[in-house]
Symmetry: C2
């Protein structure tokens, strides 16, 4: 039976829960072997976790010859909610204690509607999912928002595309309404956590996740933990200055990476190329649909349109220059590129790789894979659930939540 926010009491219990969450059911024998703990110690900690309602110890493992070992799993009724708030839509999902997706709902929003209205939509979606009977209770909620976040305060801070959200108490409001612990992070960090839990980055401890969307950002995972920095602004690479001069950026500066290469920059350049007649392919597309996006640039580039090809190559080269420095500096084991603009076709990845491998230190890039994300559309809600489950399952009660 759980009361309020059940959490493990010590580091062994947190470790046991993390293993069961990430690997699924294990026998007591396996748990003891993997953690180098005595059978008595494992039994003692599991008993306590069962009392806290965090594990089920009832099942029996397939026999390995001798007496069948009892199987242990995270409690079957644990439920986490992942919320992925985008600029134009919101995804809400219910996941179990192993972060398996049980159900998911989406709705169209505009982030400009402001926090009250958007969070009301979130609450309605959570209510519907609970109505389905899948989440009789909620053990924690992890939320991603499309802008800078004060992680400690659970609020957005000076978010450029959602000024109405500045300092709005997202965490406290949702926590009060849902009666569960809530954590809020920016969309890039949430996707990096999804990548760590269910993507290519599953097996590495140190990696960079680059999100190419309307803007550009980077999630930094070191020793298996997100690095946010004391102000929470770590990874905000979209406004690194790559040239002394260049197109004006939404932030007010010139020469920022995302003013050269991002969904917004590609859209701006595509419209210009279409209207000036330099790109017949983009002009046709604009005439047909009335608008242009990064996807259209990708399609035109794949079709061989030279202007579109150059746009992808130039942008990827600038991204590669930034990544080369970051790779030399932080020496990650993997770089994953995701987000809506990541699918510009082979030219993007080829150019980024070419610049990074040529410009970074040989020692830093020796075995470094640079890959596109293979995370499904659920990456955001999985990352949200991972965030809050780390706090609820993997942080002993004496430590900060």
């Amino acid at each position: 039976m759980r009361h309020g926010c059940a959490r493990p009491e010590n580091a062994y219990q947190a470790h046991l829960l993390r293993m069961l969450r990430n690997r699924g059911p294990m026998s007591r024998a396996e748990l003891g072997e993997t953690m180098s703990l005595s059978r008595t110690k494992v039994a003692m900690e599991l008993d306590r976790l069962a009392q806290l309602g965090l594990v089920d110890t009832g099942g029996l493992a397939a026999s390995r010859g001798g007496r069948r070992s009892a199987m242990v799993s995270v409690a079957a009724d644990l439920r986490f909610v992942g919320v992925d708030i985008g600029a134009t839509s919101v995804d809400v999902a219910v996941l179990d204690g192993e972060l398996q997706l049980l159900d998911r709902l989406s709705d169209a929003i505009s982030i400009r509607q402001g926090p009250e209205q958007v969070l009301e939509t979130v609450l309605q979606l959570v209510g519907k999912l609970q109505g389905n009977g899948l989440a009789p209770r909620v053990d924690g909620v992890g939320v991603g928002v499309p802008g800078p976040v004060s992680f400690l305060e659970g609020t957005s801070v000076v978010p450029p595309i959602m000024p109405e959200w500045h300092h709005f108490p997202i965490r406290d409001m949702l926590s009060r309404e849902l009666g569960a612990p809530v954590m809020v992070d920016n969309d890039v960090n949430i996707l990096a956590l999804g990548e760590m839990h269910a993507g290519t980055a599953r097996s590495v401890e140190d990696f960079l996740f680059v999100k190419l969307g309307t803007g550009v950002g980077c999630g930094i995972v070191l020793r298996g933990n997100l690095h946010r920095g004391p102000n929470g602004s770590a990874g905000d690479i979209g406004h690194l200055q790559v040239e002394d001069y260049g197109p004006p950026c939404a932030c007010g500066n010139v020469g920022c990476l995302e003013a050269f290469f991002s969904g917004a920059a590609l859209e701006r350049d595509a419209l210009q190329a279409a209207r000036s007649g330099r790109s017949p392919a983009l002009a046709d597309r604009l005439a047909a649909t009335g608008s242009l996006s990064a996807v259209d640039v990708g399609v035109a580039a794949s079709g061989g349109d030279p202007v579109a090809v150059a746009m992808v190559r130039d942008g990827a080269r600038r991204l590669g220059q930034v990544l080369a420095a970051l790779v030399s500096f932080i020496n990650p084991a993997l770089v994953v590129i995701g987000g809506g603009v990541a699918n510009l076709g082979h030219a993007l990845l080829a150019e980024v790789r070419s610049v990074v491998y040529r410009r970074s230190l040989p020692l830093a890039t020796g075995n470094l894979p640079i890959v596109l994300s293979e995370l499904p559309a659920e990456g955001g809600v999985i990352g949200g659930a991972r965030l809050i489950s780390d706090a609820v399952l993997c942080t002993p009660r004496s430590a900060a939540p």
Copy 2:
């Protein structure tokens, strides 16, 4: 009584030892309060640490009114050796369990003599220090070398200025000869650890330490731990490409930061400015001493020589550009600039600050101090001792050394 490599048995013991090392003697009451542990638990863990010979529990604290609480300290006979190998000299010091310097010896070497000869000098210096009676036993040795290190293997790897050292088993050789655990890291990381233990960075968890010497490197400390990266090359910022073209670098590329700004680059540019007659101040200095170094550039710049001033400003601006990106990326709480070239006078720091504060994200630089290192010349040996004492005192026996 200690036998072989005594190490704490669990995380509480490691935490207790770390506090006693960093803060000095504490009463049992203080220890319990600071760690939120019961008096019984503290007593139990301290008894075990005393049995392991890692703490002394004999002293009595000054009375706070009631019964005098017993004072606890790290064992008075703990001894660590710090070794700082430079290109032209080696420093060896003996430190106690609180990393207080007890004695220190230096000798001139040439790193080009190769590992056997240089390490023989190190062993002789350690022998002399032991002969002084200050180090009847050695609990651990931390070594810094002026080049890339494979931290896991305890060897140098492709070190540019010391090719003879490539893959030489520094750690294993010294460990065998001295009968104590040894750890090897590069000079920049060792200085960053010194900065963390005894410098301006004492009170922060996340900081960058930039060493401006013959080359340029950066130590990255996150959450109180050095970040080395999977290949140990993290922080190697000297070869970040800051221009497409530029002076050739010792690494074989062009446009590297340290080809523009480093002790070696300043020496090269100073000689050129002196010989071409562009800088009368540097020409006079060259005529007087027959050579020029970064120190001469600093003196000439402080004296108002326009060419020397421009050299410092231009170099500092390039360093600032690199730091601006790294600060936005990793969001540290402090940047410390050290190394022999750091004392170029006020112009260096002013220019670096100007570029970083202008180019970095406001959120990342809000409260960011950028300061010169105030670490004394012993910074390297203190950092070496800190490195090995972290492993010996602060890593529980079940974890990797």
